[in-house]
């Protein structure tokens, strides 16, 4: 924790005619990581034993800083005010005469504050250690060597047919819960052909019906294609057009 500096001079008392450039204000506030940090700073600056804090004096100094922060209209974190209240309370409790006849000795009002300061001090030290470590991008740099002849392969995912089918079984089981969906009546070869037909027909022009059939496929192929076309028409995915009876039939994707 470096001292609070304003224009290169350590700042412990506010001169009456204080002028603080706006930038310096933020520096001051940012310099302290919180009320405990400010208290520790005050304690260390005056070589005070944390275990025996002259609470009145420390409170006075703490308030000076808080007043500065207020005076320069910085939005003071509520925590600073909470601490101010705590200090004031400790101070007043310390002033109360302690009953001599008290059977149980009353705890030192400072005990909780001391505990927190000591605890915070440990982590402050840990923080300084961390900050001092050599770090990547500051003290350490990592080699970044390009690789010659790099090729990017994308291996296929590890999916087996069993995986696929067992996923479908789950769907089917679940589907029973959705009784209103009756799916997949047509043989798969028809569904596959539906996809193929859809790909062949275009939306911006007509495709001749007969061109969808391939002689090499035989009777079964013709039947499958025909069923596929019927199903596509039924699902309104394609339109059939015939200008007059016995004229050539044309197909068009419904778009």
């Amino acid at each position: 924790m470096s001292a609070v500096l304003v224009r290169g001079e350590e700042w412990s008392k506010i001169p009456d005619d204080l002028y603080i450039p706006p930038d310096a204000l933020e520096v001051i506030l940012e310099e302290f990581a919180g009320p405990l940090d400010l208290l520790l700073y005050l304690i260390r600056r005056d070589n005070i034993d944390v275990l025996d804090i002259p609470i009145a004096e420390v409170t006075r100094q703490y308030m000076v800083y808080v007043e500065i922060m207020k005076a320069i209209k910085l939005e003071l974190a509520a925590d600073y005010l909470v601490m101010a209240a705590m200090l004031a309370e400790i101070k007043s409790r310390m002033l109360l005469p302690r009953p001599v006849s008290s059977p149980e000795e009353e705890a030192d009002p400072r005990a909780e504050l001391v505990r927190r300061l000591l605890e915070y001090e440990r982590y402050q030290a840990a923080c300084e250690n961390l900050d001092k470590r050599v770090r990547v991008g500051r003290e350490l740099f990592l080699p970044e060597i390009p690789m010659e002849a790099r090729s990017l392969e994308r291996p296929p995912p590890t999916v087996s047919l069993d995986d696929l089918l067992s996923a479908l079984r789950v769907v089917l089981q679940r589907e029973k819960a959705f009784a209103h969906h009756r799916i997949m009546r047509e043989p798969l070869s028809v569904r596959e052909r539906m996809t193929n037909v859809l790909e062949k027909v275009r939306s911006d022009g007509f495709t001749e019906f007969t061109r969808l059939f391939e002689a090499g496929e035989g009777k079964r192929g013709v039947v499958v294609t025909f069923l596929a076309i019927l199903e596509l028409v039924r699902e309104s995915l394609i339109m059939l057009v015939q200008n007059e009876p016995f004229a050539p039939i044309h197909l068009k994707a419904a778009a």
Binding site: F141, L142, P143, E144, I145, P146, M147, E148, A149, R150, S151, L152, E153, R154, P155, P156, P157, T158, V159, S160, L161, D163, L164, L165, A167, L168, R169, V170, V171, L172, Q173, R174, E175, K176, A177, F178, H181, I183, M184, P187, L188, S189, R191, E192, M194, T195, L198, E199, S203, S236, L237, A253, A254, A255
Partner: protein, 224 residues
């Protein structure tokens, strides 16, 4: 510290720069008073080149800038370093793919209706980029949804000559009923309950690991 040689500094810079370095840029590493001569830098580069002869790196000069790169001979090993691990598809992706296979041409809405759960665009994108499905058209209903079908690559991956090689649905249904029956006296409720359970699972996975690589999958699992 004083025994750090120009050559070591130049080498360090070439290793970490991530881009080729010109002589000017190399010179700028040094404080003004310690600025080496051009010749000294060139000498350092020469030494580095010579020292590299042993190892996996080589010094390249591209358009008057220098860089260290691995020798091409190392590509077979190094490619394995960057090889993507085979992805593992989530249940949601598999279900979607199965429904497209059996129900094609079909829309995302139809898949959602069957799965009873939303199908994220991630899932569709995953399957499209893997080229296992493709868009074969659009459906003439409001919103004009895309119609998807499976591809030749899909058939090839699963070693099928045609979709007809897939077991017919009726067979799967029987197995499904058998499996459901093992739960002893399952009424409608029980079935719908198990349906719900898988639903949640599906939505869970959808969010995170659509095409998670193994490690990513593990990580997100650990994070949960």
């Amino acid at each position: 510290m004083s025994d750090i040689r120009i050559r070591d500094i130049v080498q360090a810079a070439l290793l970490v720069a991530g881009e080729p370095l010109t002589l000017e840029r190399l010179g700028s590493l040094f404080a003004d008073e310690a600025q080496p001569e051009r010749a000294a830098l060139l000498e350092a580069l020469g030494e580095i080149r010579a020292a590299c002869a042993e190892g996996p790196l080589e010094l390249q000069c591209i358009d008057r800038a220098y860089r260290l790169q691995t020798r091409a001979e190392y590509a077979p090993w190094l490619n394995r370093l960057f090889a993507e691990r085979p992805a593992r598809y989530s249940r949601a992706v598999l279900e979607t793919l199965a429904i497209i296979a059996y129900r094609q041409p079909t829309t995302r809405g139809e898949i959602e209706a069957i799965r009873g759960v939303a199908v994220s665009s991630e899932i569709i994108k995953t399957l499209l980029s893997r080229e296992w499905i493709r868009q074969v058209g659009t459906k003439e209903v409001p919103g004009r949804p895309a119609l998807y079908g499976t591809t030749r690559a899909f058939l090839e991956h699963f070693n099928l000559t045609s979709l007809g090689d897939l077991p017919p649905l009726s067979e799967l249904r029987v197995v499904a009923v058998d499996q459901a029956g093992q739960g002893a006296g399952l009424g409608d409720q029980a079935i719908s309950a198990s349906g719900e359970a898988t639903d949640t699972e599906a939505t869970d996975t959808e969010a995170t690991d659509t095409e998670a690589t193994d490690t990513e999958g593990d990580r997100s699992e650990a994070a949960r």
